[in-house]
Symmetry: C2
Subunit: 142 residues, 2 copies
């Protein structure tokens, strides 16, 4: 099993589609709990007012993107699609430039922790206000 | 909102039942996305072979415990009940002493990240082998 784990880490983001035959796991039915067939993608996201991770999380949602999009995130499917488009890096999301936001400084912090396709994710970003945060798409809008 | 956040942090684990009237949030229907009525409880758990958080996560599941138990954790309801019994601290879970495990050293790491009733959770523990890990109940058995 340790060898399999090292192998999975080596091939990184492509692991999800090819791991199955090597791990010998049974094929999981869509919607069932993830088996080792899938490189895991499970995240928890928080947001709260303030600066840095010391801010009290006011909301927190779960997001799982394999085998299907699920979780308490209100737009799990779109959030997973955005993350896939950014290679699993929340920092890779782009702000929509067609939205006007006030310059009021009322900072909000977003954190993303967990695993994306077998690799650990630990992300934190402070936005000047909630409007600016929400221009980055569905992932942070919960 | 910042005042509310500080207040929520002060009352800590009791926040979930009394926050609603003060935040003025609408009552969320059971099963819908968490609103600010609920102090958030959303976690992501990982397990993998090795020692310390550097171990590659082989499995990862989400677990949400408010308003209802949900997530890709295969026993979300029981896992939430165990966490409630331990005051949200995964380190407070006790090993069942009626299970015999080999002394083989093949370490596995469990991590729990996220938020429990509005407070951040960051937990990591290395067990000598998977059998020993599984004696701690449903939370780590995924």
């Amino acid at each position: 099993m340790r060898t399999t784990a090292r192998w999975a880490a080596t091939i990184g983001l492509t692991a999800v589609t090819v791991c199955g035959p090597l791990t010998g796991a049974a094929v999981a039915a869509p919607g069932s709990a993830p088996s080792s067939l899938y490189a895991p993608s499970a995240l928890v996201l928080t947001t709260g007012h303030g600066e840095g991770a010391a801010a009290t999380p006011e909301r927190a949602v779960t997001l799982s993107c394999a085998p299907t999009a699920s979780g308490t995130h209100p737009a799990a499917g779109q959030a997973c699609a955005e993350l896939r488009g950014a290679g699993g890096d929340p920092g890779g999301l782009k702000s929509g430039d067609d939205v006007f936001c006030t310059k009021l400084y009322d900072p909000v912090v977003v954190t993303v922790e967990g695993v994306w396709q077998g690799k650990r994710v630990s992300y934190e970003r402070t936005f000047p206000n909630a409007c600016t945060r929400d221009t980055y798409g569905a992932l942070f809008a919960f």
